[in-house]
């Protein structure tokens, strides 16, 4: 008989907990951004003030009529109460006619 044979055996349970994440479909996409309105969501971190203008310029060159709702109009996304953001952001995007958003910078 080995030492392992004499040792107690434990039947153990899972230390995680049930996932509350409900799988959700992404919004439908339009294949062409020409003439669309793009909202800028910025967390006011990591040089977004340099990055967003570069994106605006590049997309405007590629897609005629593309329009931007800048991050100052939509407000910072960082540090805000998530429930409050969820309650207000959709209406804000509708108000400004956003067809798509770019959210930056970080995770």
């Amino acid at each position: 008989m080995t030492t392992a044979d004499r040792e107690p055996v434990y039947e153990v349970v899972w230390p995680l907990a049930p996932s509350a994440a409900a799988p959700t479909a992404l919004a439908s996409r339009s294949p062409d951004l020409a003439g669309k309105t793009i909202g800028e969501l910025w967390d006011y971190l990591f040089k977004g003030e340099e990055i967003f203008p570069l994106i605006r310029r590049a997309l405007a060159q590629r897609y005629p009529g593309v329009r931007f709702v800048d991050y100052e109009t939509l407000g910072s996304t960082h540090g805000r109460d998530e429930a409050e953001l969820a309650a207000t952001l959709p209406a804000l995007l509708r108000k400004h006619g956003c067809d798509a958003v770019i959210s930056a910078v970080g995770a």
Binding site: V12, P15, A21, L45, A107
Partner: protein
């Protein structure tokens, strides 16, 4: 940032998120947690805060295709849930060593051996809960899991708690599940760590250390309660350092043992307890949880007058907090904590000072040049930080806008009431210590214990 994109997607607005390379794995955890694992991402390679303007420009140019792809290419989403074990499912059967290896390989431990969570052990904890094991206390992000009473007991077993700690474990999870605690940000790069503060007669009854070595491992109640919380954040919130993901603490720190106040010392000198400061009656059992991102050095103060002590506390605690004060100014919430040694508190109180007087002194006398606040904020990545703008928005009192002189002093502690004071530590030495809070991430939240002694 990804959560804002998810809100837009739910509203029918397609999104793409710009994520820097070091955040890529954390982003995947967040995306899965919001139920959108395929949330489009455009990856900015590297670290923007160490890139010059030309490098930023070149990298953004290379991002454009990914941005277009994210906004315009249709994404198929699998709307099925992964099958996971039920609470009472036995997930493994083996010896102590085999259990450790099985759990460690799945990132279910903190790297230390754990007590095997068998059903009988879990049930012993539940006897002290008076709640249904299936009851959900809240949901914890980024992994977005339901914090059930059962899961609290399982992790309490694993952390080496005693079953009678169960009401404290539940109260701690209730605290971190509150929106103002912002557990979803507990994996942010500052690497902040929660600190539990235990109040009321329960601290003495459960043998919490309140005196010498109060913040050191060695006493089961303080140590295992602190360990439990870190373990729970790993297993249920999903905050794991590599080879896991979700926890982006850049250097970070290990768990704090739970802090218990020397309430007898506070009562002797006529000071309110920390629990009373949080709105509880003196004998109410309560836990408070808040973030700690760093501590001051040990602060030795001597003398027979209050001012002898508070001047040095202001110097050393103030300097420890000064660097990080921009975060409190930016988010208009910041709750540093000062642990004052009993012998020092006695001198201060004997001179007629209350805790509020100490708070007011710190508020009035600790300052930092405005230029330094803005410089430190920029280096962190708050590249749009402006004291003037914050004052104009009402987030800070008007005095922060000041004269415009970059060298003008501004208060390190914007609100005196935000400073917490606990009397604890070695009664035989004249030492205090301060703890720096990480602004709105890990905001101070207190919960009364469902426990009668």
């Amino acid at each position: 940032m990804l959560r804002a994109a998810a809100i837009a997607e739910r509203a029918g607005v397609p999104s793409v998120s710009i994520v820097t390379t070091p955040f890529r794995e954390q982003a995947a955890v967040v995306a899965k947690g919001v139920g959108m694992p395929a949330l489009p991402i455009a990856e900015y390679p590297g670290v923007p805060m160490t890139d010059g303007p030309e490098t930023v420009r070149a990298k953004v140019e290379r991002l454009i295709d990914a941005i277009v792809d994210g906004l315009a290419r249709p994404v198929e989403t699998a709307l099925t849930r992964a099958v996971e074990p039920a609470a009472r499912d036995v997930v493994f059967r083996g010896t102590l060593d085999q259990v450790q290896e099985f759990f460690y390989a799945r990132l279910w431990t903190d790297g230390l051996p754990v007590i095997p969570p068998t059903i009988p052990r879990v049930e012993r904890f539940l006897e002290f809960a008076d709640r249904s094991p299936a009851e959900v206390i809240g949901t914890l992000s980024p992994e977005n899991r339901a914090a059930t009473v059962w899961s609290i007991a399982v992790n309490g077993v694993m952390a080496g708690c005693r079953p009678e700690y169960m009401p404290l474990l539940i109260a701690v999870v209730e605290a971190i599940a509150e929106p103002e605690f912002r557990v979803q940000d507990a994996g942010s790069t500052p690497g902040w760590e929660p600190l539990i503060i235990v109040s009321g007669a329960v601290a003495k009854a459960l043998d919490f250390n309140r005196g010498q070595g109060v913040m050191r491992v060695g006493r089961q109640a303080n140590t295992s309660l602190g360990r439990f919380l870190r373990l729970y954040l790993r297993n249920v919130a999903g905050l794991r350092i590599p080879p896991g993901a979700g926890d982006k603490g850049s250097i970070a720190a290990t768990f704090n043992v739970a802090l218990a106040e020397d309430e007898d010392a506070a009562a002797e000198i006529g000071w309110t307890t920390f629990g009373q400061d949080q709105g509880f009656a003196k004998d109410d059992g309560a836990v408070t949880v808040q973030s700690v991102v760093s501590s001051s050095p040990p602060i030795y103060t001597a003398g027979t007058r209050a001012l002898d002590h508070v001047q040095v506390l202001a110097d050393v605690f103030g300097r420890a907090c000064a660097y990080w004060s921009f975060t409190g100014m930016k988010y208009a919430r910041w709750q540093p904590l000062l642990v004052i040694g009993p012998s020092i508190a006695r001198v201060i109180a004997a001179d007629g000072w209350t805790k509020d007087d100490v708070r007011a002194y710190l508020h009035e006398n600790v300052t930092i040049p405005a230029r330094e606040v803005e410089r430190y904020a920029w280096h962190l990545g708050s590249t749009a930080f402006s004291l003037k703008a914050l004052a104009e928005s009402g987030a800070l009192p008007p005095e922060y806008a000041g004269s415009g002189d970059p060298d003008r002093p501004v208060r390190v502690f914007p609100r005196a009431a935000w400073i917490g004071i606990v009397v604890a530590g070695d009664p035989g030495r004249n030492q205090s210590k301060g703890y720096v809070n990480n602004h709105i991430q890990g905001g101070r939240v207190s919960k009364r214990l469902a426990l009668r002694l």
